[in-house]
Symmetry: C2
Subunit: 132 residues, 2 copies
Amino acid sequence: MDSPCYCDLLRTAARKTTAIYDRHLAGVGLTLAQYKLLKKVDRAGKLSISELAALCDLDRSTIGRNVQVLERHDLVEETSCGDGRRCMLRLTETGRQRFAAAVPLWQAAQTEIEATLNPDQITAITALSGAL
Amino acid sequence: MDSPCYCDLLRTAARKTTAIYDRHLAGVGLTLAQYKLLKKVDRAGKLSISELAALCDLDRSTIGRNVQVLERHDLVEETSCGDGRRCMLRLTETGRQRFAAAVPLWQAAQTEIEATLNPDQITAITALSGAL
DNA sequence: ATGGAATAGGGGTATATACCCGCGTCATGG
DNA sequence: CCATGACGCGGGTATATACCCCTATTCCAT
């Protein structure tokens, strides 16, 4: 009758963990979502908004707006490519430095989560992405 | 070295499941978040914004704005109590009907999730709220 | 070569969320 | 009985997210 709302549980867990990661990353003025974007741009070197959206499995317009924030903070810049429709994104020098400084903070958050949750939960969470 | 970002996994899982619940609830024009609010107001009968925020474990200002949406949709209304600072929320008749119609849709989403995830994952997710 | 389809992106609108600040109200200690 | 502090809430600002529509560009088939 009263099974817990799985959606609510996951949304709450996502909010709580996001707060933990954001708290760690606040030292370099990044949010977890921004860190993830910087990481993907760093890995790719250059990529378009649509490619980044596909990598993140997020809506293209969401990525477009999130990238605007990164551009305002001078972490990412656009470079033209042959195609007049697209613009390739890449990290600025500031972005590279900020990302490098953020990595150990992110790692600390990871470690905190690993210390908080039990191994079964870690395993279950890791398998979620494949199941949904 | 490259452990997956637990925060990203949970955020993605929350987005995906929210989309599933929202798709089911779209039949009555509600989102999962709105459904949860209506459910809590329904259970409580009457309660203030701060009480609702505490129940949801969300920021008071967040609840205030989400309740404004419900009021615009004529699902929730404010009633004055003795205290001039507070206003008590309760469901409107429309809100009661909408919530009643939404319950089986929510249940269908629950069932879909139970069919998608394996029991271990369900257990792990359920235990998350206590751990975080 | 041209016209229609496909692609890339921006902008509008809406919701969900959090933090901070200020304002009004209440309650309580002198 | 009044001043101070506690409380409740709205509003400002910022981010994250999604859907829709429009425009510009490119590509491809005829």
